[in-house]
Symmetry: C2
Subunit: 150 residues, 2 copies
């Protein structure tokens, strides 16, 4: 038995793809299902992609296409039973800097050089953890306050 | 960069542990934090546990202890942004049979010998996918209706 993926629903696949690619994930494959009116997009972190280009631990984005009758598409918000997805990164300051430069809010900045939280456009929390020992404390992170929840 | 875990919150850690161990996951480690009044439990599927007993893809259960003032503990329900966790299993009929014998509802039975859905006690959907080719269609699964949502 082995883990395959965590599936999240997205209201705007381009927006979440942009966010996850900024974070460092890569799209591995995509399934378009016109009959079911949905698109599935599978991504993985570089460290989870094998030599054949297959993901060993993926995130699956489900995009339900807007209704054919022109009614409003579903929007997504979170419950409390789901917490977050977690990734280990090589340089948490570099990752958070890249996201912040692109306009992403760092909800829990890596003040301790160890842990940060951000959110996808649909409010899925993502935990980032520094690989190995925490980095030395450094500005602007060390004095950056929290923003919102995660 | 690599995937570490998906975190879910649990109202009753024993109930979710029982469920996930029935499913086939194994507890790898546990963090009790009396100051923060929370317990973290990390599990992984056998196929994701390395020779040193470390999980390569884990699920983290967060149990927030009941408030000290005696007020009601938090209960958990789901939003729509989170979909499910998915695991590949060696024999989907055996896995679903084991869960059903223990009283778990098979929300989406493996009628096709390929895919099933169940839910944790806090309503987290779990997708089960048969390893390799689908199994030959077989009763009682082939004619079992869906129950609820997943």
């Amino acid at each position: 038995m082995n883990y395959l993926h965590t599936m999240i629903r997205v209201a705007d696949p381009a927006a979440t793809l942009h966010f996850l690619e900024l974070l460092g994930l890569r799209e591995l494959r995509r399934v378009e299902n016109p009959a079911g009116r949905f698109t599935l997009i599978f991504l993985a972190a570089p460290g989870d992609i094998d030599a054949q280009g297959r993901g060993r631990a993926e995130v699956e984005l489900t995009w339900n296409w807007p209704p054919e009758d022109g009614s409003a598409p579903e929007t997504y918000s979170g419950g409390r039973n789901f917490g977050h997805l977690a990734y280990r990164v090589d340089d948490i300051y570099e990752t958070c800097g890249r996201l912040m430069a692109a306009g992403v809010t760092i909800n829990r900045p890596p003040r301790d050089g160890h842990m940060a939280f951000v959110k996808t456009p649909d409010g899925i929390s993502i935990e980032l953890l520094q690989r190995g020992e925490p980095l030395p404390r450094a500005e602007p992170w060390a004095s950056m306050p929290n923003t919102g929840s995660w």
